[in-house]
């Protein structure tokens, strides 16, 4: 399996090539081609590796080189190739490949074309370092690296103030999570003496639950930041300032899912702590619901999808919190595909509409761009959870699992499902159908996108249709990584701990086989309800936005407070801005003036002034008049003698 090193380094090579020669020699088409080749090679390689693992179910641990030595522990750059990482790697590389191809069209004519592909390649490299890591530090390396790439790409059009701000916000908010994550790593190291997953897992039985919980929660803090869960979600919608392929790749398919992946990766740690799992569940559920409500009322096409991403990530976390790690990972995979599709579709729309973002100003462009419309519809249906699209096969099991495990969670996820269907079709109708609200000037130029953009759409749409039927394959495929009994690298004690930790999900029976599952949902009460909910959402959107039977503005006015709450995104941004941005900045300024300038420098400069002042005072003793001199001498002599004669 030595060839696996090609996977991460092929994009790196592409990055270096483009980075060094991009502007001078490669320029527009070549840079993109190099990037596509780089990522394609790693996609092919990872598929080969995937096949291998799928066949054998083994895991491979390659140590490439020693990065850092800490005491007796070597932090190595390494590759852990097991089903989980193989799946994630495949998702990353394959989705990336198509998005890269799409981007060659999307970025056409941009003066920073090579830079874009350099950044993208860098991102893929970092993402692969993350997914392939066998230890937490390399994971953190990738983790921060994708943060950097995300920063660079969000701020790609850095001449825009909004983009620059969004980029910075994304990085800093991520850093909040990373702070916790790093502390988690440190705690883990101090506790376990190692940071290799496999060694950590096997040492879990030796450590008290409290510390495990602390480690898990701290690591989860990182995941919250990276995967933009409540309360660190605010950066993701703003991150839509970046070019759309970036949104598709980083802020939908791969990077934001890294948190989900990470939780699955260190599943035994989470499983060993009930509190940690509950926290994951709670945060996931809340995010799934709240983000959906936020998405409900937005008007920015990309932001709507971004909120949907938030929400779907919430579903994944909820799945993991429920103990259904495989379902979570499957949803991750499917979400990567259909969300990438949605983003690319919206990117296609944006190209057609000259980067017009407001859905309220679109409409009736479906006929002009049928491929986009069609593929977008497929993506929307998948998101809404309509069979036979992949979203149905990945999302419904989670909701069903929640129903069996925790009613409270179920209620939220169920409501979320309705909202999801509603807002995505609201978007769909407003964009492609409904009334024509488009600026006539733009209207003239609306056209279908070129093939290098439509082909990825078609491929992804196909995948959306097909992938759901591989449900059983995926679930079984992931077993050696996520099912305690099948995990070869776990010791028996750990296995039992993990098994007990996942006890909540033991009684859940969800059909792995896609057709059985389909049949089951079409027959069981719960399945019908869920399907009905999705359809109801679509229907509601249809009624309001296509048929215009109900005026959305009136609805908004009817539920004024709620509408405002949703529209202002539950005031998260406002509060954060007030406290952390404005408050912190103002407080810093104040502290600078008071603390540094007044107090510390006051003391420093004050002592200089005091010296000068006392210099002036002492100077007065030099009166110029002999009498004064001798008088002071007399005083001096008298006192000097007195000192010794009297005090001695």
């Amino acid at each position: 399996m030595e060839y696996l090193w090609i996977i991460p380094f092929s994009p790196l090579v592409a990055f270096v090539i483009i980075g060094l020669f991009g502007y001078k020699f490669l320029r527009e088409p070549l840079a993109g081609i190099v990037a596509v080749i780089g990522v394609a090679i790693s996609a092919i390689t990872s598929v080969i590796g995937f096949m291998d693992v799928a066949k054998t179910g083994n895991y491979y641990n390659l140590k490439l080189f020693n990065w850092m030595t800490v005491g007796d522990y070597n932090i190595a750059v390494s590759i852990l190739w097991d089903p989980l990482s193989a799946l994630m790697t495949c998702v990353v590389t394959c989705v990336s490949t198509f998005i890269f191809i799409f981007a060659t069209g999307y970025m056409k004519g941009d003066e920073s074309y090579p830079r874009f592909f350099a950044y993208l390649s860098l991102f893929v490299f970092m993402m692969l370092m993350l997914t392939l890591s066998d230890n937490l530090v390399q994971l953190f390396f990738g983790w921060e690296g994708v943060g950097l790439a995300s920063y660079l790409l969000i701020g790609f059009w850095h001449y825009k103030k909004s983009a620059a701000n969004a980029a910075m916000e994304a990085f800093v908010v991520n850093r909040v999570g990373d702070w916790l994550f790093l502390l988690g790593i440190l705690l883990a190291f101090v506790t376990f003496g190692t940071l290799d997953y496999l060694e950590i897992f096997n040492k879990i039985p030796e450590v008290s639950v409290g510390i495990i919980t602390a480690i898990a929660l701290l690591l989860f803090g990182g995941a919250v930041g990276k995967s933009a869960q409540i309360p660190l979600h605010i950066w993701l919608p703003n991150a839509m300032e970046g070019p759309t392929p970036v949104s598709a790749l980083i802020h939908a398919a791969t990077m934001v899912a890294a948190g989900v992946y990470m939780v699955a990766r260190v599943m035994p740690v989470f499983a060993a702590s009930e509190v940690a799992l509950d926290t994951v569940l709670f945060v996931g559920t809340m995010s799934a619901f709240i983000a959906a409500t936020m998405g409900l009322v937005q008007n920015d096409i990309k932001r709507i999808i971004a909120y949907s991403t938030l929400s779907q990530l919430g579903y994944m976390f909820a799945a993991e919190g429920l103990g259904l790690f495989s379902e979570g990972m499957f949803h991750l995979t499917s979400h990567a595909v259909f969300k990438a599709l949605l983003f690319l579709g919206s990117g296609s729309v944006l190209i057609a509409l000259h980067h017009l973002l407001d859905v309220q100003k679109m409409g009736q462009i479906g006929r002009a761009m049928p491929i986009t419309m069609g593929t977008f519809l497929i993506g929307s249906l998948a998101l809404a959870g309509i069979p036979p699209f992949v979203g149905f096969f990945s999302k419904d099991p989670i909701i069903e699992g929640a129903f069996e495990i925790n009613t409270f969670v179920f209620m939220f996820l169920w409501a979320g499902a309705f909202l999801t269907a509603f807002y995505i079709f609201r978007l769909f109708f407003l964009t492609f159908f409904s009334t024509d609200r488009l600026d006539p000037h733009i209207r003239e130029h609306v056209h279908e996108s070129p093939p290098n953009m439509t082909i990825p759409l078609i491929v992804l749409a196909t995948a959306t249709v097909v992938l759901g039927f591989f449900r059983e394959f995926f679930i079984n495929f992931l077993k050696p990584s996520l099912d305690p009994h099948s995990m070869k690298f776990l010791s028996e004690e750990t296995k039992s701990i993990v098994w007990e930790g996942l006890a909540r999900s033991h009684h859940v029976e969800i059909d792995a086989d896609a057709f059985h599952f389909l049949g089951h949902s079409l027959t069981s009460f719960l399945g019908i309800v869920l399907l009905g909910t999705a359809l109801a959402g679509i229907f509601t959107a249809y009624v309001i936005y296509q048929l215009r039977k109900v005026d959305p503005v009136k609805v908004g006015e009817m539920f004024q407070p709620i509408y405002k709450l949703f529209y202002n995104r539950w005031y998260f941004d406002h509060i954060y801005y007030a406290i952390f941005v404005y408050g912190y900045y103002k407080f810093s300024k104040l502290l600078w003036f008071v603390g540094d300038k007044m107090i510390i420098d006051g003391v420093v400069d004050g002592s200089a002034k005091a010296s000068i002042f006392s210099g002036d005072i002492f100077r007065k003793t030099q009166l110029g008049r002999i009498s004064g001199y001798v008088l002071q001498m007399l005083i001096g002599t008298a006192i000097f003698l007195a000192l010794f004669l009297i005090i001695r």
Binding site: K620, G624, R625, I626, S627, L634
Partner: protein
């Protein structure tokens, strides 16, 4: 005989008076006179000690003190003359251009 301490105290008294003389007088010639007084007061102590010690070294020293007092007086008076010529004043409060 008078105790030697008396001579010493007298010497000290004259010394301090000379000191005070330098301080309080406003005429610079008087300052010079006061230093003479100070120097001479020491002579009493020397001679008194001499008598007590049965030695004459102190008186030899007195001789040197006298020499030096004379020398200082000579230079001081020369300076006073020069100052007077330039400044047309012998007020100590005016002889205070150098200060601070």
């Amino acid at each position: 005989m008078v105790p030697y301490e008396y001579y010493l105290v007298l010497s000290g008294l004259l010394m301090v008076l000379g000191f005070i003389g330098i301080i309080v007088r406003k005429n610079i010639i008087a300052l010079l006179i006061s230093t003479e007084l100070m120097l001479n007061s020491v002579n009493i102590a020397f001679v008194a000690f001499d008598m007590k010690l049965h030695d004459v070294a102190g008186q030899v020293f007195v001789f040197f003190i006298l020499t030096i007092a004379a020398a200082e007086a000579a230079i001081g008076l020369g300076l006073i003359m020069a100052i007077y010529r330039m400044k047309k004043d012998v007020d100590v409060t005016k002889i205070a251009e150098l200060k601070g």
